[in-house]
Subunit: 184 residues, 2 copies
Amino acid sequence: MTDVNSAQTPALAPSAGHATPPGTGEAGDGLVDLIELFFFAYRDFVGDPDQILAPLGFGRAHHRVLHFVNRNPGMRVTDLLDILRITKQSLGRVLRELVDEGFVDSRAGASDRRQRLLYPTEKGEALAREFIAIQSRRIAGALAECGPGAREDARRFLMAMIDREDRASVERLIQRAERNRRTR
Amino acid sequence: MTDVNSAQTPALAPSAGHATPPGTGEAGDGLVDLIELFFFAYRDFVGDPDQILAPLGFGRAHHRVLHFVNRNPGMRVTDLLDILRITKQSLGRVLRELVDEGFVDSRAGASDRRQRLLYPTEKGEALAREFIAIQSRRIAGALAECGPGAREDARRFLMAMIDREDRASVERLIQRAERNRRTR
DNA sequence: GAAAAAAGTCAACATGACTGACGTAAATTC
DNA sequence: GAATTTACGTCAGTCATGTTGACTTTTTTC
């Protein structure tokens, strides 16, 4: 199960010997290697929190919700829907479980009392920190292997992979969360 | 729906003014921005094929299966299970649909007739090329924005994000597929 | 006071995962 | 040559997470 290709060389596809290794960037060799690496990398990346989630009876949806609530305390339900791009019915169930089990607090807005503003509880914050810790560990390891400048390289690449029209709001989202984190 | 944070500044979290922008790499600022960027980038990246999948009545699972079959013609069902890390019951339905609708061919192995070796049909190859094209376009655009060296930087970073014990087999998988592609 | 917005809820359904059990054919082992 | 293992498929049931559509309540806005 750990080996991704225990396969013998496929019967067809003659597999001629020596060839230029992929990733050397010569023209016409395509970007399929990056497509696949992105797939495998993300799979392991989102797999990390599963260890923490399983004993709690939570799934990845809970992780995502708690993460963004924790990063943006006081956010509205609508904001969360826009970020996650799911329906409110989908969010509803997950959010209710997080509230019921005391990870998220949902208070009516002070200025606009229709709104439910979402806050992590202490328990929620602690859990969110666990998620961040385990995923940061992986990223930190990867960056360390890549040498100096890798952090900024990765940042730029990932940002450039996002739909152009969403980049500004993602940037704002991250920056505001970062500000709030610092001023606690 | 396009704006990720139409939110007013959250009611709580006083949002003190000026702060160092994230990503400048000073100690202790965490890697949460990269966590989030990875999330958004992957979301848009896997969203691309949806436009192609929807009219066919296929889902993302079909994309993944067809992609790897196309890249590794003649692969066994077991190999596919190892790559995708799903159960054979899960794979079964998706694969059957792909075979039924003429995107994948499943022939008994010549040397070992228990095996079902999987090949893309012409139709399957064409579809797989569409997926690759749309995802490559996004990646190529991102790399172009990042300047020279970005391709190799991204490659190294993504590889380093993969579980250490799986890297060798992922590398082999990519290299063998690349070889086969060149020698057609 | 009417309209619009924010949120919640009920119901039904789709997709893609899962476990567990069982069957069959072919290859491998003893 | 019989027993075991392997590769694959399938039936049946479940779960997590997403979807649409309709409807309600509360509150704000015009």
